[in-house]
Symmetry: C2
Subunit: 151 residues, 2 copies
């Protein structure tokens, strides 16, 4: 359990090659960022499209990109014009250094963009079941989308 | 919680279309077949390749195919020559009637085969963390691979 996480956290994951098809780690109860489990669901995002900005009041997100590549941009709740994102990072199972899990504690504004021509898909292994009352969404122009992905 | 499940269970899942990319349900704590959560991991399987046969002693598997198509064949622990599989089913996110979760209680022999030319990927949302001592694997020729997929 890691209920006390105050900032988004990136955790490198293992992708294990086997002759008939790889095995990819996702989330273990003993992993950094684990804060309980109540629902696993998948989101796809088309190349170039951005989904956001969404802020959860209670849910801790545990995000793993398992197909394609997805860029996440996260702003803090106290954002002012000109402030940089708290996090700007690409997740992808295609490169070992980018195969990593993103844990987002409640209270942050999250946007994400599809990077690959084909499918882009993320897992959210969440500590709460979906509840529309537990999150809010604001229009895409509420926060800037930085021109280039961060490291 | 559904610790008392005696047979493999198929549960239809929702895939929700949205303009920027679909959302696919996976597993909720309140869903049929849920038996706790300790690890989520992904397995890929190449087209035509079969992974198996593996039997878990304690783990309940909750399997969702989220890329391509995968055929699962399951035999009971008391199998004799000539017995049909307990289950022979295709899972795929590409067709609504095939987008379904397969729950496998401990004690069954499981094999699975990739069906699509591209990637084939499954999620296992398991009630236990990976532990090699908790499962056994036997050679592929130990059980028959039926010639045609079941419904």
């Amino acid at each position: 359990m890691d209920a006390g996480l105050k900032l988004p956290l990136l955790t490198t994951l293992r992708r294990i090659a086997t002759p008939n098809g790889d095995v990819l780690h996702g989330m273990k109860a003993s992993d950094p960022g684990y804060n309980g489990f109540a629902e696993a669901y998948f989101s796809m995002v088309l190349q170039g499209a951005v989904k956001g900005w969404k802020r959860h009041f209670e849910m801790t997100l545990n995000l793993v990109c398992i197909v394609g590549g997805v860029r996440f941009v996260i702003y803090g709740d106290g954002w002012s014009e000109g402030d940089a994102p708290v996090l700007d990072a690409v997740l992808s199972p295609g490169e070992p250094e980018l195969y990593r899990r993103l844990t987002v504690p409640p209270g942050f504004w999250v946007g994400f963009q599809g990077l690959s021509v084909g499918d882009n898909m993320i897992l959210n292994a969440a500590n709460l079941q979906h509840d529309p009352a537990e999150a809010e969404t604001v229009p895409l122009d509420r926060f800037p989308w930085p021109p280039e992905p961060g490291p």
